[in-house]
């Protein structure tokens, strides 16, 4: 199957579109933001539902606590900021007031990963998926494009329980269907193949599709899955794929430590030991630069996925 696209958009705008939909369709949804309304694309939500929006100022810890309190009062709070400030900065608040307390809070964060670009490593969190997936009961979602982010935003409002939704700043190809139904925890099989499994999440999904096309030119058939939900992991789909291919490459805009690849390795080690290669950041911080240049320097693009795929196949 060939994937094409007509436009490129940022996933954060998909979040904004999802929030606009929720402003009109779910009166229980409330939004909070720590002085980043424009970056989170919340303008339409606020215009439609000003009484359901809470500006917290640059005070993320307080935002998480207020969200927990609003959830107790029967609302569905979407707490929004940059991924660095919405996870690492407030880990204990999320742990105690949201996760351990079992509150129906949606932590929705933009500007995750290297593709934040020029602001540099202080803002480029590459540990957020790991931090969030370690919390018992936390659902962790990292959609791949505008349409999928919009669908995921709408879907998590219907799910009862804490969720971390991660998206980003750069424009990327919009290649998944408009108005798709998003199923939490259900991987999407994008390309059929028998030689290597590629499990990608977030911005790396499009890169994985590109990689599969390059591999095909070399006579290698890749089985490509979009793992938009890191937790709960779709282990059924992963097992079915690696049973066919016998090796796997994981690809994510995140530290290798603690990310998607880590979850996959843990599952496969216990159920079907499989040769695995990891596309991710290898125990380092990022730096300032243009997003595409950063992704190339840190080995997070189609070329890197191709290289790791060939290596994985050779190790079978």
């Amino acid at each position: 199957m060939k994937f094409t696209y007509e436009t490129k958009k940022d996933t954060r705008s998909g979040f904004g579109a999802g929030m606009e939909y929720l402003s009109q369709n779910n009166p229980k949804v409330v939004a909070l933001c720590a002085d980043l309304i424009g970056s989170l694309k919340l303008e339409a939500f606020i215009k439609n539902s000003p009484e359901r929006f809470f500006q917290t100022g640059i005070a993320e810890a307080n935002m998480i606590g207020i969200s927990a309190g609003l959830a107790i009062g029967g609302y569905i709070p979407f707490a929004t900021t940059f991924a660095n400030f919405g996870t690492g900065r407030v880990y204990d608040q999320i742990r105690q007031s949201v996760a351990y307390s079992g509150k129906n809070v949606k932590i929705c964060c933009s500007h995750a990963g290297l593709t934040l670009g020029e602001d540099g490593a202080t803002h480029q969190i590459l540990e957020d998926l790991g931090l969030m997936k370690m919390l018992p009961g936390m659902v962790v979602i990292n959609p791949c494009d505008y349409n999928q982010t919009k669908a995921a935003t709408i879907a998590i409002a219907e799910y009862e329980g804490p969720v971390y939704l991660r998206f980003g700043r750069p424009v990327v190809p919009v290649f998944t269907p408009e108005n798709q139904k998003f199923e939490i925890g259900k991987a999407i099989h994008l390309i059929e193949g028998t030689d290597v499994t590629i499990l990608a999440t977030g911005h790396l999904v499009w890169e994985a599709i590109q990689a599969a096309e390059i591999l095909e030119e070399k006579g290698i058939k890749a089985d490509v899955l979009n793992i938009h939900t890191i937790k709960p992991l779709d282990t059924t789909a992963i097992l079915a794929s690696v049973s066919k291919t016998g090796c796997v490459v994981t690809a994510e805009e995140h530290q290798i430590n603690g990310g998607l690849g880590d979850s996959v390795a843990q599952f496969l080690a216990q159920n079907r030991p499989t040769v695995q290669e990891f596309v991710g950041v290898n125990d380092s911080f990022g730096e300032s630069g243009k997003p595409a240049d950063l992704m190339e320097k840190y080995g997070l693009n189609a070329a890197a996925i191709v290289e790791k795929s060939i290596k994985a196949i050779a190790r079978k």
Binding site: A61, N62, I72, Q93, S101
Partner: protein
């Protein structure tokens, strides 16, 4: 409930606190004893609580159309557990399981074990006021006229999140909120003045936009009167902060006047000496 009845309940609650902490040889008796009069005054006099046709309290997580209390300084859990049990939220005999394996009465309160009366986990300090603000705003959105209460410690004022919340509540006119600071002047490493001085909390909260009241937190008449006065000041655009002077260990002479009993359990003899000072008004569990 009249003041004398409230004092009787407080005496029993203090016995419960000491017996819980003694049984597991861990927990925090000092602050629990100090805040006993406030929590008894709230739950047995001031708060509007959801009740069934037989006037027995019923627990709803949402707290809709009833007053909600949050304990931010979760280490004084034996006090909260005793008050909730004596008020009828769960069986009093369950206090015997405090801090034991498989108990719903965890060292610090949590809704994780589905204990009636607990809506949020606390223990890691500084988070409760934010949660209280969130529920207060939920009540406003729902046109629910009931009140949200939150108790913090004075040592807890060291936490930065408290001041994020302190700034937020007046800015957003959260005027259905009454918060308390237990000014017992003690924290784990010593007197608050030495460890990290709060300086003038009244001036600080006033500068942040709060309506600040003071009371003697170990004088039941004053507690009841101040709570009534605070309620009359709600709905005027400002949240209310009640600075409450208490004595850590209040009610037991040898536990008062220092931070020594912050997190130390009495031995058998000390328990006997302490219980001798507190009337068994409602029957021990």
């Amino acid at each position: 409930m009249q003041t004398q009845e409230l004092k009787n309940v407080a005496s029993q609650v203090r016995r419960d606190i000491l017996r819980q902490v003694h049984a597991c040889q861990s927990g925090h008796p000092g602050g629990s004893l100090g805040c006993t009069d406030l929590l008894v005054g709230l739950y047995f006099n001031s708060m509007k609580l959801a009740q069934d046709a037989n006037r027995k309290v019923i627990f709803n997580m949402s707290g809709a159309n009833e007053d909600v209390f949050y304990l931010s300084n979760g280490h004084i859990s034996p006090l909260l557990y005793s008050v909730l049990a004596r008020r009828g939220y769960f069986p009093v005999k369950e206090l015997a399981t405090f801090r034991q394996l498989n108990s719903r009465l965890q060292g610090h309160p949590t809704p994780h074990e589905h204990l009636e009366g607990i809506r949020i986990a606390s223990g890691s300090l500084g988070q409760g006021l934010s949660v209280a603000i969130g529920t207060a705003q939920a009540k406003k959105l729902s046109n629910d006229a009931s009140i949200v209460y939150c108790l913090m410690g004075d040592g807890e004022q060291n936490e930065g999140q408290v001041w994020e919340a302190a700034m937020y509540a007046p800015h957003h006119q959260v005027d259905n909120l009454i918060a308390f600071i237990d000014e017992n002047g003690q924290q784990i490493d010593g007197p608050t003045e030495k460890v990290m001085s709060n300086r003038d909390l009244e001036a600080k909260y006033k500068a942040f936009g709060w309506n600040v009241l003071r009371m003697d937190g170990n004088n039941m008449d004053e507690v009841v009167a101040t709570l009534a006065h605070a309620k009359s000041l709600l709905g005027q655009g400002s949240p209310i902060m009640i600075l409450m002077k208490t004595e850590m260990g209040a009610g037991v002479d040898f536990m008062m006047g220092s931070h020594k009993w912050h997190g130390v359990a009495p031995n058998d003899q000390q328990l006997a000496d302490a219980l001798a000072q507190l009337n068994e008004t409602l029957g021990d569990y």
